[in-house]
Point group: C2
Chain length 308, copies 2
């Protein structure tokens, strides 16, 4: 079985949307990535850190989804990373109400020995130095390294960010972040500039407008499934990335054509994530449901024009 | 050959974008719709009104593209409708600098006798009473009536708008207008409410994010081609509608599957329109170029997932 290393936060989230609010619930990039990647029958390990306050039942939940939690350090005397946010009515923007780094402040990720030759590495949004340190630990060059990041690191650790971006194959970034990173409004031009920074593949996430994959002169555009109701967008980007990484790990095929499929799987899984609060929908998602939604995606986007 | 009636403005536009500005140039919904539909080898007539100031060379330009101008009334003592606008840096919003209705204020469209049995009618953005009056003139029920409109009529002629919307088959509307018309943020719910107003097909234009086609529970999403540079968005929506209407008129097939293709043709043609100021690009567009871009659209959106 292919191995996938997932690095990112495992956290408590408290979320407010127009539909309601939650207490502290399970969250974090590695959590969403893992739950999404768990659908591909691969050897996935989560590399993260939590405090002594983190419930065993959450760790069990991940283990039961075949996500190896041996890479999650438990700092008994520490507290788990906590994020709280409130979404605006249009669900496209949010205010951060609280960010308590806690144990994440001193996070030194350790890749378990048996995963150091993993084929695929998914670096969730973290300080770029922390992301780099994971790559330093790999014993062989992974087939594909995927990196997610955010505007925060562009504001306060841009040099470090550039240093890790040089070393990766695929960057996933949202449209505003792509514009900030490059100073270019056109996403076509922005993607070209990001290519020049290192990544051969650039995935630009556009939320309800879908996702774009750029590879030199090649472009693929996967729309998002139009939904009746977005309940909670938290984790959608990570769920997308987890589906992408999981599908690549499973197939072992890093061709552009196969990455299109990875994008479709990522979009499909993300479309479930937003249907309920937090990870709830991803905890209860059958392969039959995924299969049906993939068919919906085909109907949504595929056409038959006779081009002579 | 199938007949297409195009009703809309034929106008002077003056446009400012970050790339430059124009004097009064050829514009108007019927102009863009006509230039786009002219690629489908159909009998198209433009129904409109201009003043004595409208140059014969512009009429000749339309005639040379096989757009019948016999439906364009020339009010010798009047002036042609004039619109002027300035686009913001992101090209997604604009300010109207001037709107001079002139002869358009008293426009009474007259459908030439020979077109009263046309298979397809494309009602460009105009006062809904004017749009209705065109339908009153048809001698037989058209196979498909497509209507474009805008927020202005929702603000000041909503009842009239509802009256004409009842009578048509396809509405093309942008995302903000769909939300305004229905009071619903979700485009899925908005489309359902518009279905209830009459149209069996709802096309929601999302600019750089593409276009959605809704028909009951069926949805199709055509992304827009990501462009290096949008030079001037003026007329893109009308060019899209003209491609849609032209393709339906040519094929005579109003099935949902064929409408997907019409959406792709519309998106393809619109992607050219924005490359130069005003109608310039549409005046010089070969079928070979269209064919190549259709292939680009296929590569952009089509994927091959084995679903067992």
């Amino acid at each position: 079985m292919s191995k996938l290393v997932i690095v990112g936060t495992v956290a408590f989230d408290a979320i407010e949307t127009p539909f309601g609010k939650t207490d502290k619930i399970l969250g974090g990039a590695a959590t969403y990535i893992g739950l999404s990647a768990s659908h591909f029958n691969i050897d996935a390990v989560a590399v993260s850190v939590v405090g002594g306050d983190f419930p065993q039942e959450y760790l069990d939940l991940l283990s039961n989804k075949n996500i190896d939690t041996s890479g999650i350090e438990i700092v008994k005397e520490g507290k788990t990373f906590f994020w709280s946010g409130r979404y605006h009515n249009d669900m496209n923007s949010r205010d951060t109400l609280a960010t308590e780094l806690n144990t994440l402040a001193d996070f030194n990720p350790v890749v378990p020995e048996v995963y150091k030759d993993a084929e695929v590495v998914m670096l969730g949004n973290l300080h770029p130095i922390v992301q780099s340190s994971v790559l330093d630990q790999m014993s062989s060059k992974p087939k594909l390294v995927i990196l997610d990041t955010m505007n925060f690191w562009m504001d306060c650790a841009l040099d470090d960010l550039h240093n890790v971006i040089k070393r990766i194959d695929v960057i996933t970034i949202n449209d505003e972040e792509a514009r900030q990173l490059t100073g270019e409004y056109s996403l076509v031009v922005a993607a070209r500039k990001i290519h020049e920074m290192g990544p051969k593949y650039v995935v630009i996430k556009k939320g309800e407008h879908g996702a774009l994959l750029f590879h030199n002169e090649h472009v693929f555009y996967a729309p998002a499934l139009p939904l009746e109701e977005v309940f909670d967008p938290t984790g959608a980007g990570d769920t997308f990335a987890g589906g992408f990484a999981g599908y690549i790990a499973k197939t072992g095929d890093v061709s552009f054509e196969n990455m299109k499929n990875a994008i479709i799987y990522g979009s499909t899984l993300a479309s479930f994530c937003v249907e309920k609060f937090g990870t709830e929908r991803m905890q209860n998602l059958s392969s039959d449901e995924i299969h049906k939604r993939l068919l919906q995606f085909k109907q949504l986007t595929q056409f038959e024009i006779e081009l002579t």
